[in-house]
Each structure stands twice: as structure tokens, then as C-alpha cells.
Amino acid sequence: MQNGMDGSITTSKGISLPRPKLRALQKILRNRQGLVAVLILLPMIAFAFLAPVLPLQDPLKSNITASLQPPSTDNLFGTDKLGRDIFSRTVSGMQTSMMVGIIVATITLCGGLLIGSVSGFFGGRMDRFIMGIVDIFLSFPSLLLAIGMVAIFGAGMLPVIIAISIADLPRAIRLQRSLVLSVKSGAFIDAARMVSAPTHWLLFRHIIPNTLAPMLVAASITAANAILTEASLSFLGLGITPPEPSLGNIIREGQMYLQEAWWISTLPGLVIFAIAISLHLLSDGIREVLDPRSKR
């Protein structure tokens, strides 16, 4: 059955023994979509966070003589009205996007796992209370919830992250809760209860490991959505405000010069698009690799 090519060791008897820890990572890289995603994402993340030490132009330095220059070897993405280099502004904005994506995904993943597990596993009054709150938050379209939140907390990186996290958390809680409920009804939970397995054993050995895969898939999509939401907020002028660059506000600034300088808006948009696509491919990769039904 096994050909030994998927990270398993083949013993002399021809029986393959999988090594659990390495397997997941290796399989992501062997998965075509996962590989493409990692190949796009990793350089982007590295580039974004290494920007300060890279030989790039200062994203905030204006140069009126080079106003609205089209893309060239000097300015890969051209310049804006103030003559600032769009490429280095985009890289800087990418850093913001990545931060928002990673932090929001982490918060919603952890919060979702914690609150959703409590709600789904223990049920009862606690569950009704939590789900009541979740329902209230889910009654707002997510971007509008974030807009409202930003209106309260003000503009800037931290408020944006808080706003998007609050808007996305209810969905994660609801997902985790439904996953817990479905795993909880499985016969292997009965098997564990039959030997009086304590609550922490049921939760950490049986339930959460089996909800982790879909939650990770959801988290990578949440990261993509968070990046899009941040960009939307900044585009509307409510998120990260100039002069600090963000992909959304660069596009906003470019909107005024759409006719004479198409590059200001279009090229940073392409970057958001690429990030979103690779995060979705990553989620597909995770889904396929962690699916217990897939052949190991």
C-alpha cells in the first residue's frame, strides 16, 4: 500500500511506520497547493519584515521633482504625487498587512479554541450565555462591526487589530463549538468515557486534536479576510491613516490620480490579491494534509 515516498519509513518487513511530527510539515510541502502558497508567502513575509535592513528607499521621504513617475528600474512601482517610492511604501504596507493577518488569526484561533471548546463541551447555561453573545455579534455584517469599532477606538494599528479580531472571533467560536459537538458525539469519546477518562483527557487528547485541522484551515482564511478588512478600512480612511503606509491607504491616495498614474492604486492591490490567494491555497493545503480520511 505504502510506497515510502510520503515521509514514512519502510521497515525490512515492508511495513511503513509514519513519523507523526515530521509528516504534517513534509506533506504540506509535498502538496502542490501548499507548496505554491509557502513559496509565495515566505518571501513576502521575509521581505516585509526585513524591509528596514534592505536597500530600499525611505517610504516616507518625498521628492517633488519625481512626482507621479511611472514604474521604472529606479522606482519599481513608480512614485506618487509627493514623489515617494510606491514600491518601498508597498513593502512597508505589506508589513502592516502581515502583522494584522498573523495577529488576528492567532487571537481568533486561540480565543475560538478556548471559548468554543468551553461552550461546546460543557453546554448548559454557560453555552447559552456564550452563544447569546455570539449571536448578537453575528447580527452585524462583519465590516460594519469593524467600522463601528474603529469609530469608537479611533484609527491606527492597534484599534484596527482589536476591531477585526472582535468582528472575526464569534465566527471562530461558533465553528469550534460545532466541531466539538460533532466530535463529542463520536463513539471514541464513549470508549474513553468507558474507562472514566477525566475531562481534561477527553478535551486535550480526543476532542481538541480532532478540531484543530478545520480550525487551522479557518485561521488561514481568517488571516486573508483580516488583511482584506484592514485594507478596506484603510481605504475608507478609517484604518491606518497616512503618512504611515498601508496597502489600503496607498490605494486610497492613488484613487485621485487613477487617470494619470494608474500604478499607484493597481500595483499595491495586486499584492493584497496575491497574499489572499496564497493564504487560501495554504488553507486548501492544510485541509488536504490534515484530513484524517486522506491516505497517510
Binding site: L144, I152, S232, F273
Partner: protein
């Protein structure tokens, strides 16, 4: 049926009350109250007090809360802080525009998405993987395009380069052709955002239904394939499609804010952004409430349609 409606409405009351309360208290979280911003440094202490009184901020919080609840029941949201116009009236003027755009989007998106999704599912079922994969990929790409970016690209191509469609100008209901041209670009952008999600769920559920035993039964009794798709597959796949389309309405509302802003359409989204920029918190609070009510209403309607389609559910 009426019994069910009543039950459903009863279930919604706590949620709606929660939404209303959340919005009320969230706004009070803002440091200082609105008057301190409006007043700036120019007004004397008495003038600020007068303003506070006019805005009903001089009474205890619980009384403000009750007034606010009563106001909502009467669709009276007070007046804007800046211009002093009644908010209810502003919303009533803007709502039809947003509503029209949202409604047309749902209509266009469902028609196109269900067709494409069914074609993809049918191709996948028959093993014609290429058609399915191409459609699936296009759906994913369209779905992930940031809507404001797509809007700008459209504007660049259709307005600035080709000059086919306007991207600004008045909204005039008495001139249908002009109106359609005016809202064509926003409709395209919004529909593209919806098509992907609905097409994907259509593909999944039609494909799932095509593998069901009763489809095999129908085929075994000589029903031609196309008739099987229309008579059995779509009817059974309708329920998840309706649900997802209903949930997608939230995203659609998100999208209307952005497209209204870009194409300067005087809907409630534009009203909202204006409110935030002028820090008119009672306006912001009211508009967000209206959005939420719309969303709750649509979800309830999809639930009803769902129940209507499924004979297994008794009212």
C-alpha cells in the same frame, strides 16, 4: 405557519435587544461625549450645557437608554449633531438606493452563480475535470479580489479608458436607462463578489445531490440527465444555496459600503462614512443599527424560504 413566525420572532427578540444595547453602550465608551468634540475649544461652559440638553445627554444613562429604545420603536433616531437634520429621514432617503442595489445584486448573482455552479458540478460529475477546475479557479480568484481594488480597475477600464459607463453623477429614479448605466459598475463589482460564494456552494451541493441514491433511481427509470438535474438535483440543492446566499448578504452589505463610497452613491454606506468623518456618533450608531436590522431580517427570511422548500419541516 403563523405559529412558526411568532416563535421565530420570539427567538430573535433577545438578539435584537442585545444588538440595540451593545450599540448604545459601545457609543458611550468613547472618551468624553460628542459635545466635547463639536464644541471644540470655542464654546463656553453654558453653551456646552445647552448643547448637552438639546442632545438629551443631561439625564442619567438609564433614562437615555429608555428614550433611545422608545425612539427606535418609532424609527426616531434623533437629529444629526452637525446639521441638526432628523436622522430617520436621512436614512429613509438613503435606504432605497442601497436596497435597490443590494436586491439587484442578489438577483444577478444568484442567476449567474447557480448556472455556473450547476455547470461545474455536472462537469465534475461526468469527469470533465477541466471545465470544473477552470470554473472553480475563476470563482476563487474573483472571490479573493479586494472589492475596492476591483472597483478601481473597472473604473479605470470602463470609465476612464473606454468611457462606456459613468462612475459618478446623480441617482435619478425617473430615468431608468440612465440609472442602470449609473449603477452598472457598482452592480458588476458587487455581483462578482457574491457570485463566487454562491457558485461554490451550488457546485458542492449539486455535486453531492448528483451522487445521491434517488438520482440513481431517477436515472434507472429512464429520466434523461438534464431533466434529472432540473427536476431533482436543483430542487434538493436549493436549501444549502439559499442558506449560503442569506449568510452572504452580510458580505454584500459590507460591499455596498465600499462601492457606495467609491462610486459616490448616496446610500446608507455613504451616510455612515460621512458620519464617521464628521464624528457624528448618533448618526453612526443609527446607521449601523439599520444595517444590523437588515441583516437579521434577511436571515429570518432565508430561514422561512428554507422551511418552505423542505417538506420535512412542519410549521
Amino acid at each position: 405557519m403563523a405559529d412558526y413566525l411568532l416563535k421565530k420572532a420570539a427567538q430573535l427578540i433577545p438578539t435584537i435587544l442585545g444588538v440595540v444595547t451593545l450599540v448604545f453602550f459601545a457609543i458611550r465608551l468613547i472618551p468624553g461625549d460628542s459635545t466635547s468634540y463639536m464644541a471644540g475649544d470655542n464654546l463656553s461652559g453654558e453653551a456646552v450645557d445647552a448643547l448637552r440638553e438639546r442632545m438629551g445627554l443631561d439625564v442619567p444613562v438609564w433614562q437615555q437608554y429608555l428614550d433611545y429604545l422608545l425612539g427606535i420603536l418609532k424609527f426616531d433616531f434623533g437629529t444629526t449633531m452637525v446639521s441638526g437634520l432628523p436622522i430617520g429621514q436621512l436614512i429613509m432617503e438613503a435606504l432605497p438606493v442601497t436596497f435597490m442595489i443590494a436586491f439587484l445584486t442578489v438577483l444577478i448573482a444568484c442567476l449567474i452563480a447557480v448556472t455556473l455552479g450547476t455547470i461545474a458540478a455536472f462537469s465534475a460529475h461526468k469527469g470533465k475535470k477541466l471545465i470544473d477546475q477552470v470554473l472553480t479557479w475563476i470563482a476563487m480568484l474573483v472571490d479573493l479580489m479586494p472589492s475596492f481594488w476591483m472597483a478601481l480597475l473597472m473604473m479605470l477600464v470602463f470609465t476612464l479608458s473606454l468611457g462606456w459607463l459613468p462612475a459618478s453623477g446623480p441617482i435619478d429614479f425617473s430615468d431608468p436607462v440612465g440609472l442602470l448605466q449609473r449603477i452598472a459598475l457598482p452592480l458588476i463589482v458587487l455581483s462578482l463578489g457574491q457570485i463566487a460564494t454562491i457558485a461554490r456552494i451550488t457546485r458542492t451541493s449539486v455535486l453531492e445531490v448528483l451522487n445521491e441514491d434517488y438520482i440513481r433511481t431517477a436515472r434507472a427509470f429512464g429520466t434523461p440527465q438534464l431533466l434529472v438535474v432540473f427536476r431533482h438535483a436543483l430542487k434538493n440543492a436549493a436549501m444549502p444555496i439559499i442558506t449560503v446566499a442569506g449568510l452572504g448578504f452580510g458580505n454584500l452589505l459590507n460591499g455596498t459600503v465600499i462601492t457606495e463610497f467609491i462610486f459616490s452613491i448616496p446610500g446608507i454606506g455613504t451616510l455612515l462614512i460621512g458620519g464617521i468623518n464628521s464624528r457624528d456618533y448618533s448618526l453612526v450608531q443609527s446607521v449601523i443599527l439599520v444595517y444590523s436590522f437588515l441583516f437579521i431580517l434577511v436571515n429570518m427570511m432565508t430561514d422561512l424560504i428554507y422551511k418552505y422548500f423542505d417538506p420535512r419541516v412542519k410549521f
